[in-house]
Subunit: 204 residues, 2 copies
DNA sequence: TTGTGGTTGTGCTCACAATCACAAGCAAAC
DNA sequence: GTTTGCTTGTGATTGTGAGCACAACCACAA
């Protein structure tokens, strides 16, 4: 494909493809056609082909996509081929669940530090990490960590985000139900679980 | 506005509007213009006006939208004006966090029951609910509950979904990283937290 | 070497959503 | 009353992504 801006929607689907190819690899399937993959993911085959072709020609005509090498390609496109360190801020209910969730490792994520401002939580161990004082966020500067997961109450989210960005964080997964004001160079993805649930009754 | 199919994207934004109007109400602000609201939510003013106008003319020209009555209108549109009962399946790390989260009440949600298949968890109390055996899901038929939150491992999700649908559930918020196969009348919203995180490194 | 079945890669078309621009309309002041 | 200032509601326009159809291509068999 000649020069094309890669659609945001395509990027959003890439981790889904990566997960699918990773699972296929554990099942020792060597190739998969866009048709088969589309059935698994409930998409249209041309959608998948177009998405992948934005990044090059990974498939073999008449055969399909080689599972193992395509997985590696996608991993590299998403920069998940190197282990990505992330910090967690907020060791509350949701933060604790996330800190002990093993599922992030499939994408190469590693929770490298946890911060909270509650003295009852600071010093406790969650998974392999000790909960540190939020004041220690500044020390991230030296550690070259670029990703953060925010699981603090909504009214504390902006303040924490500012501190994180100040400490060199470039991407934030925000779980609080609020908009974060950040410089353009910082990418924020917000997941508001209650809001998603709020959509359901309309449809039923 | 004459007859128009309401865009899905508009529906997705409605809970965000509801949250904003609810907060404004607690701050005793009586009216808000699309301009002001757009600044808060980081949208464009015409976007908000068009979204709201799909459902009727709520605003006053020259003034803006009356906070209190518009909040009520949106609540009614989303069918959140009556308390919506929901059940939770999976009382693990994430399920426990959700069961004890007070934030759902802003949208009128109420966790009415919790199910698990682990004998160590069945019988325990989380929030105001006793954890019941998954086998009891059938009893939901009699209780007229239509919403469910699924927080079980991915390989158990489809089975639980089938049981829930069989018991009369019409909408599912699925937190497992997998596609759920359901009849067309059932609405599923899937949130895959790890996948969302997987998007970040690409942009940074 | 050539033919065949099957699947990819992609230009084109269509559908949908975001944005714009402005007429319509209300409130408050005079 | 009438005028002024401001904001809504909406047709028209633009932008973006999804879907389709088919040419290009590969592997393999004969
Ligand atoms: N629990 C859920 O199921 C759920 C669902 C949807 C959204 N959320 C959102 O996720 C966020 C966290 O929710 P939760 O249920 O884990 O809340 P929580 O109260 O259990 O945990 C919040 C944690 O953040 C810490 N904290 C507060 N202020 C801080 C600060 N300034 N710096 C550092 N740490 C601070 C607290 O000490 C606490 O440990 C909230 O914004 C909530 O709205 C939670
Ligand atoms: N914890 C996280 O931060 C996180 C993040 C992203 C996604 N998820 C997803 O959310 C889901 C739950 O995650 P978790 O961390 O809470 O896992 P968990 O293992 O802590 O909890 C799962 C719960 O489901 C129960 N369960 C298992 N099979 C069941 C069945 N057939 N019927 C009823 N209950 C059953 C288990 O007994 C357990 O209590 C998983 O699909 C996970 O991939 C979790």
């Amino acid at each position: 494909m000649k020069y094309h801006k890669i659609p945001d929607e395509t990027i959003k689907r890439m981790p889904m493809y990566l997960r699918a190819f990773s699972i296929l690899k554990t099942q020792n399937q060597e190739t998969i056609s866009s048709q088969q993959l589309a059935e698994r993911l409930h998409l249209n085959p041309p959608q998948i082909r177009k998405d992948l072709s934005y990044f090059g020609a990974f498939g073999t005509r008449g055969i399909g996509y080689p599972v193992s090498s395509t997985a590696e390609q996608i991993r590299s496109i998403l920069k998940l081929d190197v282990s990505q360190q992330a910090v967690l801020v907020g060791a509350g209910r949701l933060g604790t669940a996330i800190a002990s969730y093993p599922g992030f490792s499939m994408f190469g994520f590693d929770i490298a530090a946890i911060f909270d401002n509650d003295n009852n939580k600071i010093g406790k161990t969650i998974g392999k990490n000790l909960v540190e004082n939020v004041a220690e966020i500044v020390t991230l500067k030296a550690r070259n960590i670029r990703l953060a997961i925010l699981a603090v109450p909504a009214n504390a989210a902006q303040g924490c985000a500012d501190a994180l960005i100040d400490a060199g964080i470039k991407g934030i997964l925000n779980l609080s139900p609020c908009y974060l004001n950040v410089p353009k160079r910082v990418k924020v993805i917000t997941i508001d679980i209650a809001m998603e649930l709020g959509i359901l009754p309309y449809y039923i």
